[in-house]
């Protein structure tokens, strides 16, 4: 190897920084020798903290490996630094040989229908941010005084929202769900949740673990439309195992006559949930003379084709569903944070080849910003390892210009100080972490999250 190979490792020490401290940021960091991570919030971990449902604590175990990485001397965490506002990507590129963009998807796809802005309509991104304590979603205060909630979308996020709306409070109060959310849910009148998709059962985007959780959710019973499942049983034999098992569970839940015990359990249940298929939103309907939602108008579709590639086609018929809460769970979306970074607004990603940003030497990307906002943590892990591989390849091949020494965090810290921005270190975050865990202890929760940036900074710097 030439350039920064084994021999000259010390003389032209490569300076790399990562923007974003979620799974993408940390998994990329794990394969780099020395790296600085910049994060907008005072707290790290991105969607592991703010996206994963409170009743899925095991999924958050990855925080342990991220913590090990952050505490290693090779890695420095700088929280409370807004890249794009406090410091530009261009300035980062002047200070570092390579800059990795891992800031994910903070926006969401909109339904694009009239009435979307009515009170009572929320994006799943905001709803999830609310129950997980994302500071920018603190004021969401969704109105839960209605009986029926309609969720558009049938992916795992949609099922998370349904589960949080319908779970017994006794279960939720032992999780790290926020206190204001618990209080709102305790008063909630929501008793029926419909999870709506454009296509059919075989195209459903959620996975079996999440479906099983709904089926087994205490004090709830399923409410499906048998006709939605016409032809599904016949299609089973050709499906690959994962899709087959998921479809079998859905069929069983929707069509099978339950045994006596299950029959009794269902009759006692106070809440219902169900899928509705072949429906697309066309308008959110307001109460006459009000700006509050009264229901949603759904277009009825039919399927053309089969399997993954099946398309939903309008039939011309519509159906009105009365409801008081609509959650649109049709996808997150990345946003451009700096004009100097190429951005594909159609796909809402940074254009790249294997993590190398197109037409931008020294710029890389990983995570959802690289591939679009789908996939679980392990998907992002592989994606990030791949970007790190590209960076190391480029260092070794000389594609990444390392001939000039770069100042790294020294110059950025000086810039930030001049601009009155004080970064939060990882040990500052650990103070926040300890306060949250301590507060949670007295309530039987793993933690009680701090809900504002001001509170977080106060704890960090006291």
């Amino acid at each position: 190897f030439s350039g920064c190979g084994k021999a000259s490792l010390s003389s032209c020490s490569p300076k790399v920084c990562i923007v974003g401290s979620g799974p993408a940021g940390f998994y990329t960091a794990q394969h780099l020798i020395k790296v600085d991570i910049y994060e907008r919030l005072p707290v790290p971990f991105g969607l592991v903290r703010f996206g994963v449902a409170p009743d899925h604590p095991e999924v958050k175990n990855v925080i342990n490996t991220f913590t090990q990485t952050a505490k290693h001397s090779r890695c420095s965490f700088y929280g409370n630094v807004n890249v794009g506002k406090n410091v530009s990507i261009t300035e980062l590129q002047q200070a570092y040989h390579a800059v990795v963009l891992s800031y994910g998807a903070e926006g969401n796809r909109s339904m694009g229908v009239p009435g979307e802005d009515l009170a009572g309509v929320y994006s799943a991104k905001d709803f999830v941010g609310w129950y997980n304590g994302l500071p920018s979603c603190r004021e969401l205060s969704p109105d839960l005084s209605c009986e029926t909630a309609v969720i558009l979308g049938q992916g795992n996020v949609a099922l998370d929202v349904a589960r949080i709306l319908l779970s017994p409070i006794d279960i939720l109060k032992k999780t790290d769900i926020t206190q204001p959310t618990l209080e709102a849910l305790a008063e909630s009148q929501v008793r029926r949740v419909l999870i709506v998709g454009r296509r059919g059962p075989i195209q459903i985007a959620c996975t079996i673990k999440e479906l099983r959780e709904m089926v087994n959710l205490p004090d709830t019973r399923p409410d499906m439309v048998a006709a939605d499942f016409d032809g599904v049983k016949e299609a089973l034999k050709d499906l690959p195992r994962p899709r087959k098992r998921l479809t079998e569970l859905m069929l069983k839940t929707a069509l099978e006559v339950p045994g006596e015990k299950e029959q009794e359990r269902r009759s006692k249940a106070s809440r219902t949930w169900g899928f509705r298929f072949f429906r697309s939103p066309v308008e959110v309907l307001a109460e006459p003379g009000h700006s509050r939602i009264a229901g949603i108008r759904l277009a009825i579709n039919k399927l053309e084709g089969s399997g993954d590639g099946a398309q939903a086609v309008l039939t011309g018929e519509v159906e009105d569903v009365p409801c008081g809460l609509v959650v649109s769970s049709i996808g997150y979306k990345s946003l451009p944070i700096d004009p100097s970074v190429p951005f594909d607004s159609r796909k809402a990603i940074v254009p790249n080849t294997m993590g190398r940003v197109k037409q931008a030497a020294g710029l890389y990307c990983s995570g959802w910003l690289k591939t679009g906002p789908t996939g679980v943590i392990a998907t992002t892990m592989n994606n990030s390892f791949d970007t790190a591989r590209s960076i190391l390849e480029d260092m070794d091949s000389g594609t990444l210009d390392m001939s000039a020494a770069k100042p790294g965090s020294q110059s950025i810290s000086a810039l930030l100080e001049k601009r009155g921005v004080k970064p939060v270190t990882f040990s500052d975050w650990e103070k926040i972490d300890n306060v949250e865990m301590k507060r949670g202890e007295s309530r039987g929760k793993p933690r009680e999250k701090l809900l504002t940036v001001e509170e977080m900074l106060h704890v960090a710097w006291t």
Binding site: N61, R74, M354
Partner: protein
């Protein structure tokens, strides 16, 4: 094709070398807690396990009866990228392992919960299991477990060009 494979191996080796050299922490490390079997630590009690890593290399290690295969990977500090992300709690599929037919039959029953997560694994086969759910017994002595690729290798295109 050969050039790409070679380059990939070189980069992966350099990844490992950089990681080790800089002792950058890639999970898992020996600071993690071990599972200690209740039997005394006599060497004839141990079970030999062979792993085939993603480069096709065979790595032979020993574990104690009762250890899960994930425990063995952690305890022996085996360097499988991203293995065991959820730390054995059936919340991911990164400890996916593939066995031969005969060994697979000896592994015992699989629960719905394991199958639910296994269903998400890349390159799922009929003889796949999650390593965190397989516990060692003497009858599994000499077992061979292959660590499959965790993602489609997009660097290997059909005509071999990268």
């Amino acid at each position: 094709m050969a050039l790409v494979t070679t380059l990939r191996r070189l980069v992966q080796n350099s990844l490992r070398e950089y990681s080790r050299k800089a002792s950058a922490v890639t999970w898992p490390t020996k600071q993690r807690s071990f599972s200690i079997g209740t039997q005394p630590l006599r060497s004839d009690n141990k079970v030999t396990v062979n792993f085939i890593n993603r480069d096709g290399e065979k790595i032979t290690v020993k574990g104690l009866p009762g250890d899960s295969l994930l425990d063995v990977v952690i305890n022996e500090d085996l360097d499988f990228d991203g293995f065991g992300a959820c730390e054995g709690t059936l919340a991911c599929s990164t400890c996916h392992l593939i066995f031969d037919e005969e060994m697979y039959k000896k592994l015992g029953p699989i629960t719905d919960e394991e199958m639910d997560m296994l269903d998400l694994a890349y390159g799922l086969t009929d003889t796949s299991r999650l390593g965190c759910q397989i516990c060692l017994t003497k009858s599994l002595e000499g077992m061979v477990a292959r660590v499959p690729e965790s993602v489609a290798d997009i660097r290997q295109t059909k005509d071999g060009s990268s």
